[in-house]
Amino acid sequence: MAFIKSKDLVHEYIRRDEEGNVESIQTALDHVNLNIEPGQFISILGHNGSGKSTFAKHINALLTPSEGMILVDGMNTSDEEYTFSVRQAAGMVFQNPDNQIIASVVDEDVAFGPENIGIPTDQIIERVENALKMVGMYKYKSHSPNKLSGGQKQRVAIAGVMAMEPKCIILDEPTAMLDPDGRADVLRAVHELNKLKHITVILITHYMEEVVDSDYVYVMEKGKIFMEGKPREIFKDVEKLKEHSLDVPQVTLLAHELKKAGVPLSDCILTRQELVDELVKIKKGGQI
């Protein structure tokens, strides 16, 4: 059964004036339908305002649908009885690393989640240690988060979610405020969680390079899912993506341009290694 099942999901931000009359309605999600299987690595791409963050907040029951419904691990998020079970099943990491760390010491922050759900003391310590080891931050456990780099803080935030032992982790633009090194560290940690612990990962981003290794990609625009498929299928259509002013990974773009210029490359190249291999093959074959 699908881990996350969204059916005709609609979310409207309603702005009211002082008397409570509706001033304007902004549809952030417009009949979104999708199914996410457990253990997958899913990416959701889109511009600012495409509704991708709103969708993420629905998976975590931080927002509830205006219409339609979303089931997380079989639980309807609109049902208040399940709110906390949903949040425990699907943890969420936010964009700004500073604004999601509650405590002044790393391990106390990681313990915040397990403390909230009432885990007994000795198990909390074990969970915190495991979670910090998973993201490679164990040696910083008694540091102050203020002294860590952005990437390290973000990994602490991931550990904070992992300590609640969720089945799924949603990352809402986790790398948007990080430098390239921090980005690489965070993504490596997330991929490891997916591979080793079989945690379902939903990565929301607007960096195309981060999407390449995922199992399935959704591209959102104006509250709708406007493309979906495996990364290779998505990036095959360079022209369509460009039309909607979405980037493709640099290598893919280069390959696309080369192909347009007459180099007989295959259709969709996602990594640098693939491009090198193909070019070498072509050169050996004497096709240029």
Binding site: F94, I102, S104, E108, G113, G118, I119
Partner: protein, 266 residues
Amino acid sequence: MLRDITIGQYYPADSVLHSLDPRVKLFATLVFIITLFGANNIFLFAFVLVTLIGIIKLSHVPFSFMVRGLRAIVVLLVIAGLFNMFLTPGRELVRFGFLKITDVGLKNAVLMTSRMVLLIIGTSVMTLTTTPNQLTDGLEKSFGFLKKVGVSVHEIALMMSIALRFIPILVEETDKIMKAQMARGADFESGNIFQKAKNMVPLLVPLFVSAFRRANDLSYAMEARCYNGGEGRTKMRPLKYSSLDQRAYICIFTYIILFYAVKFVM
């Protein structure tokens, strides 16, 4: 200047004071403050001072780190000192025009400023050796009885710990905004006090906006991690008294008895 605020900053080290229960340290700080203001002669004052020096030695926190907290209140200290010195009635020692220094005034000025210095140092010993979370845990436990009369102790404690966590972040932000506004020609230096206060507006408005934004983000992050008030929460490190804490309590009570014995005899 803004970086000098050491209140609420934790200095990680391995010392006896660091491993004490926060409730013990809170109680000790309270006792320290009471005795500090009860010390009305030089012997008692010296007694308090020696105790404090001993405690600082025990804390393994570099002394320079504690003094740093004083820099932020130098102005306050000077003003308080001067007011006490010139405006206290008593036997006149020196006179400059309408200002005069009296014996009582001089004594008060010295006593007042040194009390304030010791107060700041003494309380920062506590905050430097106690993580904010421990501190709020300690407060939550110590004032737990107020829950019965309808005070939301847990919420207040959490608010305090979050405030402490965000002090350095907001200080950094203030610095950033200040520089950004100065780059666009804002002037925070010149003018009289009213103009200066008025010039703070372009600093405070963006600071408040960003603080509210952060608060909003944080509330989402807390809810996403199943925060649901104090009910049914467990603790990673629940407060438990150890034999070390018992010995500390004995020391504190010995100190109180000694202090009042000296005070009574004098």
